[in-house]
């Protein structure tokens, strides 16, 4: 046969044939809305305990955890970079000047992988963080930037504001609802593998070192 088969029609036709009579859009929406979601949506943990929980999870992943007050971010960044022996960091667009200490070099990055590969690390904010799983969620937005930024450099310092931390995964999704089409990355600890004898090894292809700076009210 010379004619080209229409695979789209064939697949959709085969599905319909297997399922029988199709339902109306409204009926499908109604059925979807009726799915029982009895799982925990929100956690009732008070702020101090929530932050402690988040820190505990991060430490388990082998991430570095620091705290600073709102007016002490730059000083803490300086302290962390000194401890890590970093001369400066690459930045996405939109990082507030008050995060950046004197005496270090901070440059807004181009997005060339080969150049990023040579930079000492990257400084970003985040959209939301999940205490229960020790995750930070990055999106293509101000102070977070394109995905390549938090991927190619070997070191990532992430600034998380206390009010960005939620307890559960569903709470995080509620906050992401309006921006769900943006490129989004959930980061839970430094990159890792357990492919060799189920031993968790830190640092395969993503950043091998992750520090999280939690910013609290004074």
């Amino acid at each position: 046969m010379a004619e080209v088969m229409d695979h789209r029609a064939a697949i959709l036709g085969s599905i319909r044939k297997a399922l029988g009579q199709a339902s109306s859009k409204d009926a499908i929406a109604e059925e979807y809305a009726a799915i029982p979601r009895t799982y925990t949506k929100t956690g009732g943990m008070e702020r101090a305990a929530l932050l402690a929980h988040f820190e505990e999870r991060l430490v388990e992943y082998d991430a570095g955890v620091y705290r600073a007050a709102k007016d002490g971010i730059a000083a803490k960044v300086a302290e962390i970079l000194t401890a890590r022996g970093k001369p400066g960091l690459t930045l996405p667009e939109g990082v507030p000047a008050e995060w950046l200490p004197e005496g270090f070099s901070f440059e807004v990055a181009g997005l060339q992988a080969l150049e990023l590969d040579k930079t000492p690390g990257v400084l970003t904010g985040c959209t939301v963080a999940i205490a229960e799983t020790g995750s930070i969620v990055l999106q293509n937005a101000a102070a977070q930037g394109a995905r390549i930024l938090s991927l190619v450099p070997d070191y990532h310092l992430c600034v998380v504001f206390a009010e960005q931390v939620v307890l559960t995964v569903p709470e995080a999704f509620a906050r992401l609802e309006g921006t769900s089409t943006l490129p989004t990355t959930f980061v839970s600890g430094p990159s890792a593998t357990a492919d060799i004898e189920m031993t968790r090894i830190k640092g395969v292809h993503g950043p091998r070192f992750l520090d999280v700076l939690i910013v609290v009210e004074a």
Binding site: M5, H7, R8, A10, I11, L12, S14, I15, R16, A18, L19, A22, S23, K25, I28, E31, Y32, I35, P36, R37, T38, Y39, T40, A113, L114, D117, T133, S135, N140, A146, R147, I148, L151, V152, P170, F173, L176, E177, S180, T181, P183, T184, T185, F186, V187, S188, G189, S191, A192, T193, A194, D195, I196, E197, M198, I201, G203, V204, H205, G206
Partner: protein, 494 residues
């Protein structure tokens, strides 16, 4: 049987499960590796699942979301297609493996790529994509550490979360030493991971086309979600100019919001982590961020007809966490290769034959003791034992429909058994005849160690307790039935 070509050119479905399993059972190192790995993952899984008081609610929601999507699969696929296209993606449809290969090869050739980087994808393995690419002078480079080990070792994956769990560090070292030309490589897992990082990093930074699978297609946003650990996935999703994702049609979910369920159940079930290191979601093409050309190939390849079977449809709910493999006592003993399929373990035992319209993998529904461990751990509540029995029924019915099958010893034996068990009187007679007739088979220890013909399959690996001189039913009739009858006011049969 006509198997599917894999990476190394070997065939899947070369032989039935019992023969393949026998080969594996002789490889004691492989068995040790499999048992160690599955024990470790299972231990971790049980611990993090126990942490969530709402685990059963999450399972139920996950199962219902998936079942609902399957009931309206064409609706959600069309919605995904529309939204993905609007976001700048290209959606392709492939009824079978040949079409998927044709589409992907065409796209790769259009970009003149001689090499492609790949994220672990079961669907690529299912359609034999690597063999197609290689035959056309294109080198597919696996970037998942375990897949790289399998590819360099000219081996086959044995587990769909940890495809190289059947090899240990000494074996990995030997493979890397040879293939990466690193004679002095150490055998600590850190050394091996570092070798892979160095070897692949240059490739990520240079190669322009990537191929991936996908964990979820999101209908309402037109997006995709990929879950991974190492960052190799992010490299492939972010750095190349062109990304091609090949995804089974059953992977669609209605809404981005539904990920709040699956991103809790999948990592905990798959690797025993509260969250895996990286989850990525994106929609089509985003200017200045990631590949500026994005293709999704929606693969049917035997999936849509499964929807017609109401009992077996749940097979397509699978999110490929592999928890059922880790929990399965049969998988523990044999590892993945015995299943002779891309999809191993309990889910493989029900999925493989159905993907082939029951024409291949017909021994797989029998590769289970029906203990139910797989159902218990499944995060989307697929009742695998129920489907196994259902498929066994199908195999038997189809066999009976052929003349050779009708007169096979199995069928005659099973029909005879059905005849006996259907009537208490006949069964009672058989028990009395059996107790006398078995005398030639019973050893001094009171066990039957050998049985004739196909009954031998049972006694090859276990001894059978001989029938007692008096059956339970005989004893009941004599001792208990009169008083029970008096109590209940009715007479028992038999």
């Amino acid at each position: 049987m006509s198997g599917v070509q894999t990476q190394d050119g070997t065939q899947w479905n070369r032989q039935d499960f019992p023969e393949a399993a026998k080969e594996i059972l002789e490889q004691s190192q492989t068995r040790k590796n499999v048992q160690h790995a599955t024990n470790v993952i299972q231990g971790k899984r049980n611990k993090v699942v126990a942490e969530l008081p709402d685990w059963e609610d999450l399972r139920e929601a996950g199962a219902q979301i998936k079942a609902h999507t399957l009931r309206h699969l064409d609706h959600y696929l069309a919605e995904f297609e529309a939204n993905c296209t609007a976001a700048g993606g290209h959606v392709h449809w492939a009824s079978d493996a040949a079409e998927a290969n044709r589409i992907i090869l065409g796209l790769v050739q259009q970009h003149d790529a001689k090499e492609v980087i790949k994220i672990k994808t079961m669907t690529s393995e299912e359609v034999g994509l690597n063999a197609t690419l290689e035959a056309n002078g294109i080198a597919p480079i696996e970037t998942d550490l375990a897949e790289l080990i399998v590819q360099m070792g000219k081996d086959r994956p044995s587990h769909f979360v940890a495809p190289a769990l059947h090899v240990n560090r000494a074996q990995v070292r030997a493979i890397f030493q040879k293939e990466m030309h690193l004679p002095d490589l150490g055998d600590r897992p850190e050394d091996l991971a570092t070798a892979a990082r160095t070897y692949l990093r240059e490739k990520y930074l240079r190669i322009k086309v990537a191929i991936s699978g996908g964990n979820f297609l999101i209908a309402d946003s037109g997006g995709m979600c990929i879950v991974e650990s190492e960052g190799n996935g992010r490299m492939c999703l972010t750095l190349p100019d062109v990304l091609i994702s090949i995804v089974g049609i059953e992977k669609v979910i209605p809404s981005f919001q539904d990920l709040e369920v699956f991103l809790q159940t999948l990592p905990r079930s798959a690797t025993g982590e509260r969250m895996n290191p990286y989850n990525s979601t994106w929609c089509g093409v985003h200017p200045g961020d990631g590949p500026q050309e994005f293709h999704v190939v929606l693969l049917d390849n035997g999936r849509s007809p499964i929807l017609a079977d109401k009992e077996a449809r749940q097979t397509l709910q699978c999110i490929r966490c592999a928890a059922c493999l880790n929990a399965c006592p049969v998988y523990h003993q044999t590892g993945g290769h015995a299943y002779e399929s891309v999809y191993a373990g309990p889910i493989g035992a029900i999925l493989t034959p159905q993907l082939h319209s029951m024409k291949e993998g017909r021994s797989l529904p029998y590769a289970s003791s029906l203990c139910g461990a797989c159902y218990q751990v499944c995060p989307v509540k697929i009742n695998i034992p129920e489907v196994l029995i259902h498929l066994r029924g199908k195999v038997v019915q189809e066999d009976q429909a052929t003349l050779a099958g009708k007169f096979s010893l199995w069928n005659i034996g099973m029909q005879a058994a059905a005849f006996l068990f259907a009537d208490a009187g006949r069964l009672g007679l058989a028990e009395r005849v059996g107790a006398v007739g078995q005398k030639v088979l019973v050893s001094k220890n009171g066990f039957i160690e050998w049985m004739p013909l196909m009954l031998g399959g049972w006694t090859q690996t276990r001894d059978l307790k001989a029938l007692p001189a008096q059956s339970f039913r005989q004893w009941w009739a004599k001792e208990k039935a009169p008083s029970a009858a008096a109590k209940n006011g009715r007479v028992s049969h038999g």
